[in-house]
């Protein structure tokens, strides 16, 4: 009797071990080093930043076809050509563009609606010839959460470039989130830019009458963020 119990126990444990081995093997297979297609998201469809709404609250945007190609910085035009669609699927389709006026050879900002997402890019000497930017859902852009923090344009600071909806006149920065406004930046054509300290920063967008339209927290960190 005791021998039968022992055998059952051993069989159960071996079955458990076999299942564990199978799970490990399946996990290794999902980390395959090659695939037939390299389009983003092919191997991991769960990775997605969904788009939502339309960008009607961003008057800087004009139909893409109406914007002369010569006005778009070369680096930004290149990245728009190869940007994938929303969630990294397929090829991105640029439907609207906005060139932020007042740009220079040092820095020029462009807003683009790509496959239902809203993107902001910057290019110029400040970025060593690169284009930097980020894409967001329109919902996040309307909430003031669409920004890119660029490391490396100056030694101790981070350049923050953000998109805000119509009606936001300026943006204030509370570095260290201690209740003190450390910097303020005007909004021009739905875009603001500022160089701020490398520390967690609260960003508040305000309308013409000073009313707060949104507040977002930037997790800027001295150790690389």
């Amino acid at each position: 009797m005791q021998s039968i119990v022992n055998r059952k126990l051993i069989v159960s444990l071996l079955a458990l071990a076999a299942v564990a081995l199978l799970v490990v093997a399946l996990s290794a297979t999902s980390d395959s080093t090659t695939s037939d297609s390299g389009q983003a998201g092919d191997s991991e469809p769960a990775l997605a930043a969904t788009s939502g709404g339309t960008a009607s609250q961003f008057s800087v945007l004009k139909p893409a076809a109406s914007v002369p190609k010569g006005e778009i910085p070369d680096a930004v035009a290149s990245v728009l050509d190869e940007l994938p669609g929303s969630g990294g699927q397929g090829n991105g389709v640029v439907t609207a563009l906005g060139i932020v006026p007042g740009g220079s050879g040092s820095s020029q900002a462009v807003v683009a609606e790509v496959s239902g997402s809203l993107c902001v890019f910057a290019a110029g000497k400040d970025y060593q010839g690169a284009a930097v930017g980020s894409c967001f859902t329109i919902t996040k852009a309307e909430a003031g959460e669409a920004y890119v923090a660029v490391q490396g344009t100056s030694q101790d600071e981070v350049r923050v470039i953000g998109i805000v909806p119509d009606g936001v006149k300026d943006v204030s920065f509370d570095s260290g989130a201690n209740g003190t406004v450390d910097a303020k930046a005007p909004v021009q054509s739905n875009v603001y830019q500022a160089d701020v300290a490398k520390a967690p920063t609260a960003v508040t967008g305000r309308g013409a009458s000073g009313d707060a339209r949104f507040q977002a927290n930037l997790p800027l960190a001295a150790n690389g963020g």
Partner: protein, 142 residues
């Protein structure tokens, strides 16, 4: 229970424990990946994804194909498994060790590499308050 059966039971338990430990190591925080990249040829450029599953915060995840990682990269963009809510930074280092400014954000940060800085290496990291699954999507020339 005989001495022989005790040994058998002990061996089976040890086997199961070892496999359980292997599972924890496989899915645990910051699993090291020797080769984590998948690439495909698409309309004249290589498009590649590189992954960090449960990747630790503020730790660089480098494009690693297990082979030649010095490539003529054109674009490095970032994604996460949480609807674009994870703060991510995209980096580039050229063959001389020089780096480009790094765009960081939630959503999908993008870094376009100018031709005169190619070839080089790409990497990314995230700033969440714990391990997260992140992905880099790159394009590069042949």
């Amino acid at each position: 229970m005989t001495a022989g059966s005790v040994k058998q039971v002990f061996a089976a338990v040890a086997t199961a424990a070892a496999l359980a430990l292997a599972l924890v190591g496989s899915f645990g925080t910051g699993r090291a990946q020797a080769a984590n990249t998948s690439c495909g040829w698409s309309e004249g450029v290589w498009a590649c994804n590189y992954y960090g599953n449960n990747w630790p915060a503020w730790t660089e995840l480098w494009f690693d194909s297990g082979g030649n990682n010095l490539r003529s990269f054109r674009m490095n963009s970032g994604y996460d498994s949480y609807g674009g809510t994870v703060y991510k930074c995209m980096g580039y280092m050229d063959s001389g060790g020089g780096q480009l400014p790094r765009p960081c954000s939630t959503g999908n940060p993008v870094l376009w590499i100018p031709e005169w800085r190619r070839p080089g290496y790409v990497f990314m990291y995230h700033g969440a308050n714990g391990p997260r699954s992140i992905r880099g999507y790159t394009t590069h020339g042949g």
